[in-house]
Amino acid sequence: MAQGADGDDGAFRILVERWEGVVFAFLVRMLGSREEAQDLTQETFVRMVGAAGRYRPTGQFRSWLLRIAGNLARSRLRRRRVIRWLSLDLAAVDPPAEQPGALADIEHREQCAAVRAAVGRLPDRQRQALVLRQYHDLSYDEIAQAMGTTTGSVQMLLHRAMNALRDDLVNGGGMS
């Protein structure tokens, strides 16, 4: 039965395979959990299909898709107010794709953990803007689209996020 995909399913399948890595990476950084990110990646694409008729080709597809994912992430975060990030440990951080050696690996994992924990401590909207800028290379306009806000507000969110991260990671955390 699952083999009986019609033309649309074939098209959606290509979109899912093309974009799942982007959506998943975004959600991991928003939620701090692979399992939840996997869950919401799936949900994002189900909603993408449902909302396809309302997609405007003039906007960036990427912003539109990440907006769906971002709204899902933020509503998930609102629901679990016991912030998991507070108890983030090394086991929660994925090993890097390449592993040059055991010692370097441990150091790398510690650094990744520190970076992700610091990003995870940001307020949700600051984190969303920061992740979209830093890790997905969205322009300020695209971030504004993805967050349903103005470019000016994106500027302020990013500025505050970067100040907090500077205090946390560079000035306070001794990671430089």
Partner: protein, 137 residues
């Protein structure tokens, strides 16, 4: 930012991100060339970006398509229902709503968050492909 005034922090950040228009960027660049404090500020912004870049991101997820397809097959509804819902709301909101509320979970739209300015019947799959496939590494 003109003259001796330092650019505000969010302007420096936008400058570092290449997000300013050319004229403003030129002004900021001119100021920073002559201002140690703002240059140091820019260096610190670069430092934070460098630290953030040490996180390469998560390893790839399990392929999502099998689960997505299974859900679509379970939840797929005739398109007409969605359009009928929108039309009913537009034409006779009160009556339509009371019927829908009375009807409980009948309308269970899969479509997610409201996309502002979205237009009904907007894009075909071809439109989506046109912008979705070529970009991004």
């Amino acid at each position: 930012m003109t003259g001796n005034h330092h650019p505000k922090g969010h302007v420096l950040q936008a400058f570092a991100d290449g997000a300013l228009d050319a004229a403003t960027a030129a002004q900021v660049a001119g100021h920073c060339a002559a201002c140690d404090a703002c240059r140091r500020e820019l260096e610190q912004i670069g430092e934070v970006h460098a630290v953030l870049a040490r996180d390469p991101g998560p390893a790839r997820p399990r392929p999502a398509w099998p689960a997505v397809q299974a859900r679509l097959q379970r939840e797929r509804r005739p398109l007409g229902l969605t359009f009928a819902f929108g039309t009913a709301l537009a034409c006779a909101a009160g009556l339509a709503l009371s019927i829908l509320v009375g009807g409980g979970g009948v309308h269970h739209q899969v479509a997610g968050p409201v996309i502002e300015n979205a237009t009904e019947g907007g894009a075909s799959l071809l439109d989506i492909f046109a912008t979705a496939i070529p970009e991004e590494s």
